[in-house]
Symmetry: C2
Subunit: 351 residues, 2 copies
Amino acid sequence: MPQYWTDLVNRLTPYVPGEQRSGTGVIKLNTNENPYPPSDQVLAAINNVTADALRRYPDPQSADLRQALAQYHGVNLDQVFVGNGSDEILALAFMAFFKGKKPLTFPEISYSFYPVYCDLCNITAKMIPLNNDFSLSPDSLSGDCGGIIFPNPNAPTSMAVSKSDIEKLLQDNPNVVVLVDEAYADFGADSVIGLIKQYPNLVVSRTYSKGRSLAGLRIGAAFANANLIEGIRRVKDSFNSYPLDVIAQAAGVASIEDDAYYQKTTRKIIATRERTIELLKGLGYTVLPSSANFIFASPADKNAKRIFSELNKRNILVRYWEHEKLDQWLRITIGTDIEMDKLIQAIKDIS
Amino acid sequence: MPQYWTDLVNRLTPYVPGEQRSGTGVIKLNTNENPYPPSDQVLAAINNVTADALRRYPDPQSADLRQALAQYHGVNLDQVFVGNGSDEILALAFMAFFKGKKPLTFPEISYSFYPVYCDLCNITAKMIPLNNDFSLSPDSLSGDCGGIIFPNPNAPTSMAVSKSDIEKLLQDNPNVVVLVDEAYADFGADSVIGLIKQYPNLVVSRTYSKGRSLAGLRIGAAFANANLIEGIRRVKDSFNSYPLDVIAQAAGVASIEDDAYYQKTTRKIIATRERTIELLKGLGYTVLPSSANFIFASPADKNAKRIFSELNKRNILVRYWEHEKLDQWLRITIGTDIEMDKLIQAIKDIS
């Protein structure tokens, strides 16, 4: 049979998302979903989308949603882009700013989709090791390259870097785009969205999947000066004119309007996180300081794989990687207090 | 200021979708939307998506929707791919099968996104003129190339080609992927989905935006043998793991289950189309035989631009292209009988 795949397909190693096991009794702490539902106002907005709107194409530029985000973050409409989850936005941004340039710099331990995008776009990855304590020194990302990307807070380590460190990175690398992936920034990191007005090389990406409890609807946003946003838009309009459906656009606006609800659920998650960290430390775990809706934790005997497997048997899903620098660690999403109590009890039972 | 855009962005000429003007009194016959709403069963499925499902990631492989489509079309689960509208699927397929190969062959007059995808993927376009009567001879697409793509029925001409002609094309070009874009196939063309079992080089793409009245939700599907589907999936999982949100997946399944409704609305549209064609012919228009939910029509004086502008002033939107081979023609979406009567009356008023 002839080989129909392109060389591109043959060289790809696709991203593998966390398991989406369902059913009653499953405690899902493996994909960093929010344990609290979206607000009633969001549910109402979804139910209010008319049959007439469903049969029509959505606004290809998602103007209402972008306007809501612009107002919320204090930027202009032409400084906002929205897409089908922040993953899609990252893919478009790789094509818009990094493809065909010098190597792209990012932390060696980071979001595992970055090297996949590099493969997709034929970009060389320049991966910089974290410090021994898993912290990231933004300075370490500086230097000759075609661009810089990192999550803040980082994943799966949960640790954040300061706004001033990012500002220095932007100043030290004025000729390349610096993409700060703020997927988890709602839970404690300092956002740098406000810096887009000063730094023409800054792109900040955001997602509704974590803080806004809408992983099911696939909404992402990016903030940058109008020139960079226009670059992303040109790729988007050469790939898929209508990435965001009419329901996602409506829900996205309602979520911004009902911000008080999300402030409240975010505070609850942060409180549960801090309580869980203390409980795990009481069981001898090492836990990194977290600015995210997940924690990165290592058992006293370093045998994270055993804990992962034993939890899995008990229908408690956490994330574990067979990677030499990560295999003593578990990434655990923060659920409700009840879920975290069950996790702690299971860990006690296993030991 | 430094140039942050990649060469890719600089060379792109993005696709321009039809205008999405809204408001009461607008008769929108410019984007080939279905004039009838999605079925009550689809609306119920949307409203039944739980808050819990919204806060979680959707199934990244959309298994339920693919299973429903597989059963409906009599193929296997691993022969079905779904994506964020058929536009996204086409983009992924260009990367999976055409990028980096010889020129891609497609009709000169055809879906105007094809040359945009070629730009995006750096593929040379080998554009084959239609016959003088705007018909397409599939044979004309045969020959040395890296792949073949065409819509059946074609757009904006509305004319279909026969299954046997497509079968000959597949036999004559066994070493390249032939992608048949069946966006409008619900309205009269013979589908070739059944041929995927015999021809390892055939990909058929479909959309929910036309026949299934769900342009607002962005659902597309592709059918091919498992090897080709795996190729598209590998690109998708290197671009965006979750392109289809949980509501779109649920609505997509419900739409298949309520097929009788769509058979009925499709028959209505076909009846309205034939009636409209006769009325326009009565006004001296030349109208091509249509197998789609739109017609391609030329006024007696060939001044399509004037009709387009005059209709536009009256809030009746149709599609017009400033292209030397198309500028005597209008592409008119089939609306309800009432909408088409208003169109006919407006055309009479203008003359």
